[in-house]
């Protein structure tokens, strides 16, 4: 799944390019977006951008990032590509998943 654009690869180190896939304005989607924004503001202030893709409007984009579950957060940058499913309510897991905090304890 290394379909990264050259422009994205060329981004400076430490910048987080995140993509959140949702399907309409569901409770889980809204919760995920809110949780994501909160975590990013706390830990990645100023070095992240979030792209929200609504699959109800753009269903053709689902296959490209192998989206199965909704909501799914994809970390496009930095590499490697990471995928997280769920409403991101488990902050601990989100931080581990985004490599902001090293995975110390296996929960």
């Amino acid at each position: 799944m290394s379909d990264l654009n050259p422009s994205e690869v060329a981004d400076e180190n430490g910048h987080y390019h995140l993509r959140l896939y949702v399907a309409g304005q569901t409770v889980k989607s809204m919760a995920a977006l809110a949780n994501l924004k909160r975590v990013c503001e706390e830990h990645l202030a100023g070095r992240y951008d979030i792209e929200v893709i609504d699959l109800v409007k753009n269903p053709q984009l689902a296959a490209g990032d192998q989206i199965l579950a909704i909501p799914t957060l994809v970390r496009r940058l930095p590499e490697p590509l990471k995928r997280m499913v769920g409403d991101l309510s488990n902050t601990e897991k989100v931080l581990v998943g985004l490599d902001i905090r090293p995975k110390v304890v296996i929960s």
Binding site: A23, K28, N35, V56, I70, L81, D87, N90, K93, G97
Partner: protein, 563 residues
């Protein structure tokens, strides 16, 4: 197939185009509903699903979506390319959509509540893009490996199948066979309309694929295990166990190609569509008799198919040439086809399935199995296989010729795999060994529905074919071969002597007759002489009388003149 169990029009069905399967299920999979195809690894689930999908797209105008959870699209295309399916072309034509859903647990972190809406959207998008009517989910259980939350998964799967039903999609869901249940994750719980079980069993190192319709809600279906084939011609299911006895029969008579054998049968041959057993020990000429029959059929312009288990087709052609039968030209003209395979190559079921498929495709009017005794296996299975073969041929009005090698050499009629009762005609070949030579004889043990000779006839194979000669049946028993010739020569000599004797007697009689006739002629001559003499004497007497009376008259006249 049976006609008395046609489905009610209430349940629409989607034909899969898989030979035989649509027969077993009386029309195919339930249209607009999900069906489960389960089985162990490598038993052909994916192939079954792909075939149904491709056939739907190409034959029945129903585009399909293949959602693969295991193989990548290009791998899938490469795998089925060997069967002649060009998935890429179908995708390009918009008849097929392939979506590979990659589920990798290591790449997925679960961080809270989620659902599988993404999957629904992808599927829905693919379905809407090409207007799909059929969907394959192969193998959806992979999701259980990628995602940890079983509760969510199960709820979502239930929703997915409901969604498929609501959309009216004919779906095939494949599932890996699990312990104690049909699928590992108990998918049969959700997909309850139609469940098909594929099986790949190994017995005696020989693999046989079998298919069974476990359930089919709202429809009749064949309940047996049906063998099925996967080879370069795709997948074909063979409802051979569903054969019935309700076939029509023919009154037409078919020559065996051997004039003498035809003459032994009341109507001059066997009935078309009957099954004929030719049994005998090694070297009694079974294959040659079958070759004559095939040759005769081909010369009438009929198609023949020969399944040979011990020789190659080439070899049979060559050997048949020695008795003046040219099978090669029939092969070249396409009327005759040989299918040679070692009996141990496949299991009995597979053999049967293969033969069934070949017969369906070639549509011969005569089928030869040479020899059936080569089919190895438990005798009950061999018998069941042959029974189904006979039924299969009879159901199609095909004349079956079965040769059987008898190794025991006994004359017991009960063996021959218990086949005799299945056969309409039975020609037995027996080698008679006597006086230091072996001669071939044959006799017709039975020929259903016709009178037939009860004689044992000797037959000879020469470059001009198979000819039957009358065996000598006399007080000393049946004589064949040289003994018959000697006996016949002796009888000829006796007859000659008898003929000469009567000739001589006839000549004697003739001679005597001539002598008597001569005597008669002599007597007649002397009679004539006597008659002549008598006549002379008579005239002399009369002359004398006349002269005397004249004299008397003259005397009296003279006397009266003197007075």
């Amino acid at each position: 197939m049976a006609t008395d169990t046609t489905p009610s029009p209430a349940l629409p069905k989607a034909r899969t185009g898989i030979a035989g399967f649509d027969d077993v299920t009386f029309g195919g999979l339930p249209a607009g509903r999900p069906s489960l195809v389960c089985g162990a690894a490598g038993c052909g689930k994916t192939l079954f699903a792909v075939t149904a999908l491709v056939n739907g797209a190409t034959l029945f105008g129903e585009p399909g979506v293949f959602m693969s959870f295991e193989e990548r699209a290009q791998d899938l295309a490469a795998n089925v390319a060997s069967l002649g399916y060009d998935l890429d072309a179908l995708v390009a034509e918009g008849k097929l959509a392939i979506d590979h859903v990659r589920v990798e647990r290591s790449e997925i972190e679960e961080t809270g509540e989620y659902d599988l809406e993404g999957l629904f959207i992808r599927l829905g998008y693919a379905v809407d893009t090409i207007g799909a009517k059929r969907v394959v989910l192969d193998t959806i259980e992979t999701l259980f490996a990628g995602l940890t939350d079983d509760t969510i998964l199960r709820a979502e799967l239930r929703r997915l199948f409901g969604w498929l039903r609501d959309r009216g999609l004919t779906a095939i869901i494949t599932g890996e066979r699990g312990e104690g249940q049909l699928t590992r994750q108990g998918l049969e719980e959700y997909v309850s309309d139609c469940v098909i079980l594929l099986d790949n069993r190994v017995e005696d190192q020989i693999t046989t694929r079998r298919l069974r319709v476990v359930k089919y809600r709202g429809s009749a279906h064949g309940t047996n295990e049906y063998p099925f084939l996967i080879d370069d011609q795709g997948i074909s299911v063979l409802p051979v166990t569903s054969a019935e006895l309700g076939y029509g029969v023919s009154d037409e008579i078919m020559s065996t190609g051997i004039a003498g054998l035809d003459a032994m049968l009341g109507p001059g041959g066997f009935y078309r569509g009957s099954s004929i057993l030719v049994s005998g020990m090694a070297g009694t000429g079974k294959t040659s008799i079958a070759a004559s029959l095939v040759n005769a059929a081909c010369e009438r312009g009929e198609r023949c198919m020969s399944f040979v288990f011990e020789e190659s087709g080439e070899q049979i052609c060559r050997n048949a040439r020695s008795i003046g039968i040219d099978l090669k030209r029939h092969v070249q003209s396409g009327l005759l086809r040989f299918e040679a395979a070692r009996p141990s190559l496949f299991g009995l079921e597979t053999h049967l399935a293969r033969m069934h498929r070949d017969i369906e495709r070639f549509k011969p009017s005569v089928v030869v199995l040479d020899p059936i005794s080569a089919l190895r296996g438990p005798s009950s299975e061999v018998q069941a296989t042959l029974l189904r073969m006979v039924d299969l041929l009879k159901g199609r009005g095909i004349t079956g010729v079965f040769t059987s090698l008898r190794t025991d050499g006994t004359f017991e009629e009960a063996d021959d795999l218990g086949l005799s009762s299945l056969m309409d005609g039975w020609v037995k070949l027996v080698s008679v060994e006597a006086n230091g030579e072996r001669s071939r004889t044959l006799y017709v043990i039975k020929a259903r529905g016709m009178s037939h000779s009860n004689q044992v006839r000797e037959f000879q194979m020469s470059s001009s074919g198979i000819t039957l000669v009358d065996a000598y049946v006399g007080p000393a028993g049946v004589l064949t071969g040289t003994a018959r010739i000697v006996q016949e020569a002796e009888e000829k000599a006796v007859a000659l002597r008898r003929r000469q004797e009567s000739e001589r007697r006839r000549r004697d009689v003739l001679r005597r007759r001539h002598a008597i006739e001569r005597q008669i002629a002599e007597l007649r001559a002397s009679l004539e002489v006597a008659e002549e003499e008598e006549a002379v004497l008579l005239t002399e007497d009369e002359a004398r009388e006349t002269a005397m009376s004249n004299e008397r008259l003259a005397v009296s006249a003279r006397r009266s003149a003197a007075e």
